[in-house]
């Protein structure tokens, strides 16, 4: 008789997949400050930085918008890690998976995993796109512009080759790639800095006194490039906060911070934010402004540091694509019963190669990241409220988990409600069909409220917690009655 039968139902498969992460981290496995400084610094200096920094230049932000906006937006991100995510992480010491499992039940966890895998495919695809923009350089293959619908066939062939190689590496040696990624981090930071320093003279900046004038006149001019909307200060603040919102407000970094000895270690995220999302974005913005013609990551890095810069783009893209592909495989494994791990990962490899061939993905990466953040943000809000607020109201924590419910209707409806709020608030001014539908039917205050995607973090968080609190109250009071 087999004492440990194979899991059969979807929920059993899901639980089996994360079985080794079910227990809280023990005292002996906790880590000190050093590893968190290194982890955050390494994780947030990557291929995306070559894309996001230039977008502020192309969207016509001013130098003040960029410097002040990034300073404040990144501060909000660091505070979110330190004050929202880290305290829950060190109190519970469980992964995001088990937190959502307890708060939302297994079906919501399944939905979260599946949708997260889709986003990870888009992200990995965009990173292959980043790598290929540098690999094309020795072959003199033109990179597709931001307005292009489809790249050339030779470009697609290169993307297919790179995607296939990354998929094979992810299957055969994920750990090796992760170690290689760790070794690359200090060198990549250096490349960003030196490329920016060496490029400034070509923009007319010959001394530090010139910098601010050149920054305003040549780099962040306040005039958007053709086809790009105009970004202002609050766009930059909102985007810097929203960029990693899945990790901090959305609580995905519970998985990392559960190893922290103290909640104050959440402040080590400042290494990633201010090196990666401040210095590296500014550096890549400088490179973009100096580039003539092709402003893709590969050519601008080549301009900044020659072949070392081009190599940096290739590695930066690979370093993100490989673990992302691995995580997407992990998330999708639950819906492909009986499939070998390598088969799932290679299937995702095909999906990310297709995503890599969509030029609009890079040109709109800030929006893609924004949609992703707003989509998963409410689940983090529920975890936060579930831990800190529900007991103070006399309600039970982890109600779905304790009762063995397949899904938590308060979490499901609050998630849907918060998303519907953001979709409507943004869509009524940006989606033509919705504009036509609501024209003349909205009260004056709703007409006057016109938030951009990047302004919706706080409103959506408030709507999410308000709905979750209300629904939890209804659920638990009615079950007692």
């Amino acid at each position: 008789m087999n004492p440990d039968p194979a899991p059969t139902s979807l929920v059993q498969r899901l639980d089996a997949l994360y079985e080794y992460e079910r227990e809280p981290v023990t005292e002996g496995n906790l880590h000190g400050w050093k590893i968190f400084w290194a982890t955050f610094a390494g994780e947030h200096i990557a291929g995306t930085e070559f894309v996001l920094g230039p977008l502020f230049v192309l969207h016509g932000a001013t130098a003040t918008d960029v410097f002040a906006g990034l300073a404040i937006g990144n501060l909000l991100a660091v505070l979110s890690w330190a004050l929202l995510c880290a305290p829950v992480a060190v109190k519970t010491r469980l992964t995001i998976f088990w937190q959502i499992r307890q708060v939302g039940g297994p079906w919501l966890t399944f939905l979260y995993s599946s949708l997260f895998a889709v986003f990870l495919c888009l992200l990995a695809g965009s990173m292959i796109n980043v790598s290929v923009t540098a690999i094309t350089l020795p072959f003199h293959i033109p990179n597709p512009g931001p307005g292009a619908l489809f790249p050339s066939w030779s470009w697609v062939l290169l993307a297919a080759g790179v995607g296939a190689l990354i998929s094979v590496l992810a299957v055969m040696g994920f750990e090796g790639m992760a170690i290689f990624s760790k070794m690359c981090a200090p060198w990549m930071v250096t490349i960003f800095f030196v490329a920016a320093i060496a490029t400034l003279p070509s923009l007319g900046c010959r001394s530090l006194h010139d910098f601010w004038r050149v920054a305003n006149e040549k780099i962040w001019t306040g005039t958007p490039a053709p086809g790009f909307s105009h970004y202002h200060f609050w766009h930059i603040v909102g985007f810097a906060w929203l960029c990693n919102i899945t990790q901090h407000v959305g609580m995905a970094d519970l998985t990392i911070l559960r190893y922290a000895r103290k909640w104050q270690m959440g402040f080590t995220s400042s290494a990633g934010m201010y090196l990666g999302h401040f210095c590296a974005w500014i550096a890549s913005g400088i490179l973009c402004a100096a580039a003539v013609g092709d402003k893709s990551p590969g050519p601008i890095a080549f301009l900044g540091a020659g072949w070392a810069g081009a190599l940096c783009v290739v590695i930066a893209g690979w370093n993100v694509a490989s673990p992302t592909l691995y995580r997407a495989g992990l998330a999708l494994q639950i819906v492909t019963p009986g499939w070998k791990r390598w088969k799932v990962t290679l299937l995702i490899g095909v999906a990310i190669i297709l995503c890599a061939c969509i030029p609009a993905l890079l040109a709109n990466l800030d929006r893609v990241v924004g949609y992703n953040g707003l989509f998963f943000l409410p689940l983090g809000a529920f975890i936060f409220i579930d831990y800190w607020v529900l007991p103070k109201l006399g309600l039970q924590r982890s109600y779905a988990g304790r009762r063995g419910l397949p899904w938590s209707w308060p979490a499901a409806f609050a998630w849907g409600g918060a998303l519907a709020f953001s979709f409507f608030a943004y869509g009524k001014d940006n989606y033509a069909w919705l504009q036509r539908l609501v024209a003349g039917h909205l009260p004056a205050w709703a007409e006057a409220y016109r938030p951009d995607l990047f302004y919706l973090v706080l409103p959506e968080w408030i709507v999410a917690i308000a709905l979750y609190l209300l629904f939890s109250l209804l659920q638990q009071k009615s079950s007692r009655a």
Binding site: H31, A178, I179, T190, I191, V194, A198, P201, G306, L311
Partner: protein, 60 residues
């Protein structure tokens, strides 16, 4: 030995910084700077696998 390898690694990065600052000050051509950047890269990757810890944090 480890100290020597670490010295070469960080000297490679420092050389890249030095070359970039020299370009900024007009003391070095861009082509020469590109070679320095490539040399610094070679110094880093030629030495770092021999001293950087190969142990991964379990959570990641």
């Amino acid at each position: 030995m480890k100290l020597l390898l670490q010295t070469v690694s960080f000297a490679g990065l420092a050389a890249m910084f030095g070359a970039a600052i020299a370009v900024f000050n007009g003391a070095l051509s861009r082509d020469a700077y590109y070679l320095w950047a490539l040399g610094g890269t070679a110094a880093w990757f030629g030495t770092v696998p021999f001293w950087m810890k190969r142990r991964l944090q379990r959570s990641t």
